[in-house]
Symmetry: C2
Subunit: 145 residues, 2 copies
């Protein structure tokens, strides 16, 4: 993992459909050399895949929210993971330090939809209470890496 690898990753994050020759031109390598490095980066797990960047509003997901979860003391992270894994609206979830035990990122069609998802999560027996913040305006769009 050297400076060239980071440059190649940067190019792929910018546009995953770039040809190996194009990337090679940017970083100063030939196409086969780039391919070997990309294969190695995928093999070692530095690159976990290639995905399309989608405009959520185009699919009708116009509302997003962040929800803090306050759980019972004995609640395990895996229990929380299990509870939210089935909900497609939960885009991201993690346990955190501080007052809250977990923080969820939710994408939904509208505020009413957000409310429904929160209700379903709050129905979990280990959830003591939730505290949510609806996103007003996005300043920086979430970017990979």
């Amino acid at each position: 993992m050297d400076e060239l690898d980071r440059a190649i990753i940067g190019a792929l994050v910018e546009d995953a459909r770039s040809t190996y020759a194009e990337i090679g031109g940017q970083v100063g390598l030939s196409a086969p050399a780039v391919k070997r490095r990309v294969d190695r980066l995928v093999q070692t797990g530095a690159i976990t895949g290639f995905t399309a960047r989608v405009e959520p509003s185009a699919l009708g997901w116009t509302t997003e929210a962040y929800v803090e979860l306050f759980c019972q003391g004995k609640t395990s992270p895996s229990a929380i993971a299990l509870a939210v894994a089935g909900l497609p609206e939960v885009v991201s979830a993690c346990t955190v330090t501080g007052e809250a035990d977990a923080l969820l990122h939710i994408r939904a069609t509208d505020v009413r939809h957000v409310e429904q998802v929160i209700e379903r999560i709050a129905a979990e027996p280990f959830v003591v209470r939730t505290k949510s913040a609806i996103v007003l305006t996005r300043l920086i769009t979430p970017r990979p890496a």
Copy 2:
């Protein structure tokens, strides 16, 4: 934007390097038909690009945090955007309802690094105080769409 478009987008989110023929096999269309729809989806902005999914830890970004920003009453969203746009550690930022004015998602090399970034943000004149939560374990990895 019909059910076929959504299926194609789903396939591309799964793997942006799928061939048009492979996607066609999944959704029941020929390769050229898939390409035409993909081109249209890119043209209309439903698909904003293709990117590599990167494992942050492979690049040394092992620590992430969420930071709530409490600002002065007269602070505009654009002022916050301007202040954080220059920081590469800020992966995502948005204004939210509730007590806090904005919520930032930060990726850094370690806890000390997170602290430095927060200090820089707190130094902005419009920032009254910050409240941060360090991520302990990630339950659901942020996914596009």
